[in-house]
Symmetry: C2
Subunit: 148 residues, 2 copies
């Protein structure tokens, strides 16, 4: 572990995983609309939402994806890592009141490049709503001890 | 255009583009921390931030990426489209006070699959901070007129 209690790349191995869960509420949707400026009616207008294939308002896909940022940034690898990249496939809608679990699982560790690839999946009641991969640059004990 | 004033896939052609700009403030960072639960110290603790390679606090990468959601969801293709996927490469930090421009440019239109690929780039003062691609399913005039 690094001094921030995050994982160094030397601590990581394929199959390690971590997760967080959070209920997506109307407050989240309103705040995310303000932060992002994404005010699409399908997120904010229930009467419009009812006319769509979703049958009501849905959360922004990127709002749900923000939970992936939390699990990789705060848990695995956690503090001290740098977010390099992310892929996202939006598979199903998330509705106000749904509880999302974001899980990250180490898929590949590249010590020479100081990169780790994690499978990142968001689910609601076991159903996949987002899937993709995160690329992270964790801290490195070897680099730290070498003063780099 | 569809009845929501968004683009139908039949309206889209390679090279069309749209953009939005927004200043990322401390208020955005605090609200995004709450919405995402990503409370990494590099976003919230200036004294810690000063000890990092960034020299101070930086915005969450996914917060900046949320502006891509806004430009594709509200402008191009805009209302009536469905967000299918996104790739993100985080290239440089965004600091409180930075004004981010998110630009989407149509790269490929697949009428048969009803999908459009857009290059999505976020810049600060002309410097690329995020690059990637969005995959969208726009509305379709042909499908609408066929009652599908």
């Amino acid at each position: 572990m690094n001094p921030l209690n995050g994982y160094d790349i030397e601590d990581l191995s394929v199959g390690m995983s971590a997760e967080i869960s959070k209920t997506i509420t109307d407050a989240d949707i309103v705040m995310f609309s303000g932060v992002s400026t994404d005010i699409n009616a399908v997120h904010l207008n229930e009467e419009f939402g009812k006319t769509t294939m979703f049958g009501g308002r849905i959360a922004h896909g990127m709002l749900t994806a923000s939970l992936i940022s939390a699990v990789v940034g705060n848990k695995l690898p956690g503090a001290g890592c740098i977010y390099v990249g992310q892929t996202l496939k939006f598979k199903a809608p998330v509705r106000p009141g749904d509880t999302v679990t974001a899980k990250a699982t180490v898929k590949e560790v590249m010590v020479d490049k100081c990169r780790v690839i994690l499978d990142t999946v968001c689910t609601v009641a076991g159903k996949v709503v987002i899937e993709g991969e995160a690329t992270m640059m964790p801290s490195s004990r070897a680099r730290r001890e070498a003063g780099k």
